[in-house]
Amino acid sequence: MKTNTVPKPSVSEVLENKDDYKYGFTTDIESDVFLKGLDENVIRAISQKKNEPPFMLEFRLKAYRKWLTMKEPAWPNVKYPPIDYQNISYYAAPKARKKLESLDEVDPEILKTFEKLGIPLEEQKRLSNVAVDAVFDSVSVATTHKKKLMEHGIIFCPISEAVQEYPELVEEYLGTVVPVGDNFFAALNSAVFTDGSFVYIPPDTVSPMELSTYFRINTEETGQFERTLIICAENSYVSYLEGCTAPRFDTNQLHAAVVELVTLDNAEIKYSTVQNWYAGDKETGKGGIYNFVTKRGKCLGKDSKISWTQVETGSAITWKYPSCILMGDNSSGEFYSVALTNGHMQADTGTKMIHIGRNTRSSIISKGISADYSSNSYRGLVKVNKSAANARNYTQCDSMLVGEKCSAHTFPYIESANSTAQLEHEASTSKISEEQLFYLESRGISRENAITAVINGFCKEVFKQLPMEFAVEAQKLLALKLEDSVG
C-alpha cells in the first residue's frame, strides 16, 4: 500500500518550531475548520484550542512522532486507494458558543439533524431512561441525564471535558489499553483526536441507565477521530451503546476511532455497537466511509468481564477488532458480532482474546453475511500465554453467502502455550438454505420475508445479546440492507 507520509522533521526543526509556538501562534485557532494537512503545529493547535493540560500535548506529540515512523497496515484483506493524510482537515467544530447551559442553546440546525436521525433529545430526556451524549462532528453539543448520573457518582461526559475536570483519571488510564504506537490508525488518532466520550463508574455502582452516544459525520472531508475511554471500578457495571449513521458523500471519509475499556476487580462493561455508515454507491462502491477502528478492553481486575457486541452493516471498508486482554484471574471476555456486507463493501473484522491471568475464559460468536460484490473476512486471534492456567475459549464463526459474486473468508489464529488450556474453534461457510426458504415460501411467506427470517435466525445468538431497542433496530437494519440484494 502506498501512503503519503509526512517527511520526518529533524530535531533542530522541531526545537525551532517549539520556540515559535511560545511566542507567536500561527494557526488561526478561531477558525472552525482547520486547513488541510497535519504537522506538529496542527497538533499543538488542537491541543491549545481545547485548552489541554501539558500531559495531553505530550501524549499527542509522542503519538504523532511514532505515527511518522509507522506504515499503514497492508495485511487486511481489503483494497482501497492510497489515503492522502495531508488532504484531511484535522479539526472541525460546529459554531462554537461559550458554554451550553441547556438544550435551548444548541443550534436548532443541529437539533434538526438529530431529529432526522431519530434522536429527539427532548423526548428522550422525558420518556426514555437513556442519557445521550451527542457528539456532533468532533465537539459535544449536549449532554443529558448528567445530573441523575452524577447522583450515583458516575462521570459521563465528553473526553475533552474530562481532560479539564478529571485530568488525573485521564492521565492514569489514557493509552494504557491501546498504547500510542499500537498501530498506524491508533497512533494517528492519539495524535489528533478531538473528542469522544469518557465514562467513569465508581466502585460498587451499577449504572442506573444504559449510556448511549450517537456519532455523526457532517463536514465533508473531515476525518473523525473519536476517543472513548470507559473505566469501571470495583464491583461496578455499565452497559454502553454506540450507534452511527452518516449522510451521503462522494469523497471517502476516514474514520479512525479508538475505544479503550478498563475493568477493575469484579467489574463488568457491556459495549454494544450498531454501525450503519454510508457504504458508498451500491453499483460502483464509490464514496463510502473507511472505518478503521481500534477497540480494546483490558480486564485488569480479578473476576472482571468485558463483553463486545457489534452489528456492522455499513462503511465501505471496515477494519475493526474489538479485543479483550484478560489479565485479572478469573476474568472473562465475550465477542458477539454480526457483519453484513453488500454492494462493494469490504469488511475485515474479528477479535483478539489474549489470555494472561489464570482461569480466564472467552467466547466468540461471529456471523458474517456477504451479498452482491462484497468481501467479508473474519480475523481472530486466541492467544493463551504460559501464565494462563485453565484458560478456556470457545469460538464459532459462521459465514453465509448470498449471491455468487461475493466472497467470505475466515482467518483464525490460535496460539496456545499452556497445557491446561482448552480451546475450541469451529467455523462453517454455506449458502442460504434453499430448503428453509422453500418451507417458508410454501407457507405463503414472500421470498424476501423468508430470507429476512432465515438471516435473522442465523444472527439470533448475537441479537439476543443486544439491549432491547438496539436488537429491534438491528433486525430492521438487516432487512433493509438486504432488500435489493436478494430476489
Partner: protein, 441 residues
Amino acid sequence: MPTTLTDTPSGAESLILDLHGKYLEEARPSEPFKGLNLASVRRFETLKFPHPKHDLFSFVNAKELAWTRFQLQRDSRIGKDIVRDHVYPGCEKSVLVVADGTFRPDLSDLSALPSQVKVSSLREAVADPAIARYLAETIESENDVFAAINGAFFNDGLYLEVEPAALVETPALILYISSGSASHPTMTVPRVLAKVGRHSEVKIVVKYAGAGGNYFVNSTQDFILEENSKVLYTHIQADPFESWSFAKDRVHLNRYSRFHGVNVYSGCKLARRHHEVHLEDSGAELKLDGVSVLTGREQAHNLVRIHHEAPQCASAQHFKNIVNESSRSSFDGSVIVNKGAQLTNSDQLINNLMLSDDAHADSKPNLMIYADDVKCTHGSTVGQLDEEQLFYLNSRGLSQGMAKSLLTRSFAESILGEIQVPAVASGLRGILSKKLEANHA
C-alpha cells in the same frame, strides 16, 4: 559484509547464492537442468528468506536455518545395511532409494513392482518435452522459498510413472536417506515426480530418515493424477533430531481422481511440510490427514493450501498434534474456493493435545471462499487428557503413566488407522508408543 550497493545480495541469501555459484562451477549441470537451476535462483532472489510475519511462515522461525552455511553432500555413505533398517515388511522388493538426493538403482529393488510402474531417473525423464515443460512451469510459479532452493540445486531426481488402468497392489516405498556429516552441515535436494495414469491405483509410502545428523533435507514431490486415478499415500518423517527436514508436496487432481495422504511426523530440530493441492477438475477428491508426536525440543510444522478450482470437488483434512516438553507444532491451512467452484465440500479439523506448559501448539485454519453454493467447515481444538478418563483407567488399576500413554495413543490412533499399508501402520504404532512411554514413565 556487503557494502551499501543496492544490488549486492545482503543477509542470509548471500550464503545460498555463494553456494549456488560453487555448485554451478563444480557440478556443471547439463541442460535443461542448468536453465531450471538459474530460473529457480532468480525465483529465490525474488522470494527471499521469510521475515517473521511472512504469510507462509507464520509459526516457523527459519532464521537459524537461513544463516547456516551449508555444503552440498558429495560423498554418500549410504549402504545396503542402512536401507534394510528402514524397509517395512512387504516392501522389501518394491523399494526406491533416494540417497542424499540422488536416486540409487543399486540400492533399490523393484522386482515386486509390476511392469506398469516405470521408474527412471529424472535426467532420463526430462527427454520428454511435457515433463520438461511441467518442471519449468512449476519453477516459474514457485511461491515457497525453500522449494525454490531445491530447484536451484537439483540436477537429478526420481521419476515414477504408472500406466493407465493399472491396479498396483504392492506398495512402492520411496526412502529418502541422508548421510549427514559430523564436520559441517550439508544440504540435499531430492526431487520426485510421479504421474499416475487414467483409472490406475497405486500405494506410495515415503519415508525420510538419516544415517547421521547435521543435515538439511529439502525435497519437493509432485504428484499428477490423471482421470479417475487413485493414490494412497503415506508420508513418514523420521529424521534424527539434529536435522532440518523440509518438503513441498504438490498434488494435481484431475477429473474424478482421488488422493488420500496420511502424514506422520516425529519431528526434528525443524520439520516443515508444505502441501499444495489443486483440485483441477470436477469430481476430484482429497483426503489429507496427519499426526505428529513431539517431545524435547522437536518441531513439526504443516502448511496446507488447497485450491478448489472446479465444481463438485471435495476435500477433507484432519490433523492431530501431540506436543510434550518444549516441543512446538503448528498448522497453517487455507482452503481456497475459486469463483465458479460451486458445490464444493470441504472440511478441516485440527486437534492439539498439549501435555506440557512449555510446549506450543498454534493453528491457523483459513477459509477463502469466492463461490456461494458451497459447504465449508473448519474446526480447531486445543486441550489435554480428560481427567475423568484418566481416573477411570486408574480406578481399573492402571498406573498414571500407563493410563496417559494409553489415552495418548488412542488420540493418535484415529489417524494411524487411516494408513492403508498395515505393516507401516504397525511399525509406526511401535515407534510412537515407545516415544510416549519414555515420556509417561
